[in-house]
Amino acid sequence: MSAIRQKMLRVRNPADLDQLLAKPTWSVESLLPSKSAASESPKISTQQLHHLLRLSALPAPENAEAEQKMLDTLSAQLHFVGEIQQVDTSGVTPLRAIRDETAAAEVEQTITLDTLKDALAKEQVVGKHYKRIQRKIDHVDAKDVEDWDVLGSAERKAGRFFVVESEMPQE
């Protein structure tokens, strides 16, 4: 997992810098599908497009022209992002989130009995033949949550309810 140290070249003479940067190393346009060979781009079928729109809770295209435009854009996007499939990533652990991955941090964030000590202390076992756990009820200050006006930001409501109008067939 450790990073591989690479060779670095020290640039001593300012004139070398001009020469060094004179030649570009790559072209970002190489990620774009070429205008002539559009057939290289991954194809998405109309059926697939409609499935993705449903999954996204987005409306279907209004006409055939709009649909073709959506298919073309998605295809160009997929060509653009599909480039990474050429990269060999065998044995690489995915980086899912930026977080402290050190052993010390893992220990600190592990939930142990000690973490739950206070919560467990609030439990008591009651009953003789049928033993069960009961929570000791003491005062919890939940005013900030209880005072929350759930409907406060809703645009359409009726009494204590949110209103959603739909034309879905009744099942």
Partner: protein, 483 residues
């Protein structure tokens, strides 16, 4: 200058530059002035050093006294019941919120043209309309035109640094997890970072210092124990400056390349040493980013249905041929947002999950390894070295990287408005790698004597190892001092 005079000047500029469309909503002027007038003259330093300062906030950060729209039609009438942690921190430090700035809807865009409230405009000395950069374009223009003393933005793939570069101000994206995201509307949560825009690095530092704290309400906020291991107590000078050769792309504008060389030579003249480095994963970073960010977006934006909050489309929603809420979401979201949701839904679908989404997360790891391979400091998120000797590898590696923020100076606004969606993604090629690795990066305007006429300067980016935020700002300050 007194705080009141400064505030009045900002307010005058807000009226003067209305046509630039930098703000979506402005705080009440009388109440701003009365609050500034109440600040005792002695309290302009110490813990209250933002006292009486007018700070603008990007409109995807929640405020209880002004609407929070995220530049979207679906939130056009939404006001949050609470302040985001960063807004609370600013208020606690004495700052006055000047208003909410315009942006690309939910932060998705590179030119601040995809807003329900119309595009942000950036003008040069000749009066031409240019792109303000995105997505924090409103914040950048507000700072550049003196409508506030500093502004908050958010940076997912370059959204603070790019507009800073296009408008000639300083834009800083701190290490991921230093600044709280609680109350910041999520776009791509594993990348979203609150950043600061200001005219000087000194001003930037004052704002950042007020925000750099652990927040228990944000599960991605770095714990105090991790924070203690970040940064270096003393950095040996001269510094070793890295030149990432993979940032020298063929479409790099000649003026940008020239300014880059000028900046490097200036640092060399100050005694720092220059070293070339290779970051090969840079070439795949952009593609990986445009898989990860839309995938996270499609999931983060799934909650917008206009039921509990937000706006609804007129009439019944959901018919036998369409999904419930599709009408509301179709009307409420702009085109670019819908495009990214759709792309994200594809990357997360069963057939594409491994080849796209997981593969992109693996590329993200390769980008992180690339950076770890060139920096002298080890990545504190991966190695828990306690002593200086263990944490830093002597004689090898560079302290910071210096490269352009964007391939070109600010393009004309008319040109980017009709740009192909995928072409627009190219703009982020230099900012996305640091976002993927969560590294601190600042964009500072560098002006050359010979190109002084172009006004705003060219944005140069300083990138450092995770947690080296202070060092990155130091080098940014040194670069800005060069003319």
């Amino acid at each position: 200058m007194s705080l009141s005079t400064l505030a009045k000047e900002c307010i005058a500029n807000q009226s003067k530059y209305t046509s630039l469309n930098a703000f979506i909503s402005l705080a009440d002027r009388a109440s701003i002035l009365s609050r500034v007038a109440k600040v005792p003259p002695s309290r302009n330093h110490g813990p209250d050093r933002l006292s009486g300062q007018l700070i603008a906030v990007k409109d995807n950060i929640c405020t209880s006294d002004l609407p929070t729209t995220a530049g979207s039609g679906i939130l056009k009438n939404f006001t949050s019941p609470y302040d985001a942690t960063v807004v609370k921190q600013l208020r606690d430090a004495g700052a006055v919120i000047a208003g909410k700035t315009n942006l690309d809807e939910f932060g998705m865009g590179s030119h601040s043209v995809h807003s329900f409230f119309g595009p942000v405009k950036n003008t040069n000395a000749r009066g031409e309309e240019l792109s303000a950069g995105g997505s924090s374009g409103g914040s950048a223009v507000a700072v550049a035109t003196g409508q506030c003393t500093a502004a908050l933005g958010t940076d997912t793939g370059g959204s603070v640094r790019l507009p800073a570069a296009y408008t000639g101000v300083v834009g800083f994206k701190p290490s991921y997890g230093l600044v709280s995201r609680w109350g910041v509307i999520a776009y791509a949560n594993s990348l979203d970072t609150v950043g600061v825009l200001a005219k000087s690095v000194a001003q930037m530092r004052r704002v950042f210092d007020a925000l750099n704290f652990h927040d228990p309400q944000d599960p991605t906020s770095l714990l105090p124990s991790t924070r203690r291991r970040l940064g270096r107590p003393v950095t040996q000078r001269p510094l070793r400056i890295g030149i990432p050769l993979d940032y020298n792309i063929s479409s790099l504008d000649p003026t940008v390349r020239k300014t880059w060389m000028h900046a490097l030579k200036a640092l060399q003249q100050k005694g720092h040493t220059l070293h070339t480095v290779n970051l090969p994963a840079t070439r795949h970073a952009l593609s990986a980013y445009y898989i990860l960010a839309p995938a996270e977006a499609s999931s983060n934006l799934a909650k917008y249905d206009g039921v509990r909050y937000g706006s609804r489309a007129e009439g019944p929603d959901g018919t036998p041929d369409s999904v419930l809420f599709a009408k509301t979401r179709g009307r409420g979201f702009g085109d670019e947002v819908q495009r990214r949701i759709l792309l994200g839904a594809f990357s997360l679908s069963a057939q594409a999950m491994d080849n796209y989404f997981i593969q992109a997360q693996k590329i993200r790891r390769l980008v992180q390894r690339d950076f770890d391979g060139v920096f002298s400091a080890r990545n504190p998120l991966l190695t828990s070295a306690s002593s200086e000797a263990e944490g830093h590898r002597e004689g090898a590696g560079v302290d910071v990287l210096v490269c352009p923020t964007a391939p070109t100076p600010a393009p004309e606004l008319a040109k980017v408005k009709n740009q192909d969606p995928v072409d627009a993604y190219m703009n982020d090629v230099f900012t996305v790698p640091a976002s993927l690795a969560g590294l601190p990066a600042v964009s500072v305007p560098v002006k050359m004597r010979e190109t002084q006429g172009s006004g705003a300067g060219i944005g140069m980016q300083v990138i450092g190892q995770f947690g080296d935020d202070g060092l990155v700002l130091d080098v940014g300050e040194e670069l800005m001092g060069e003319g």
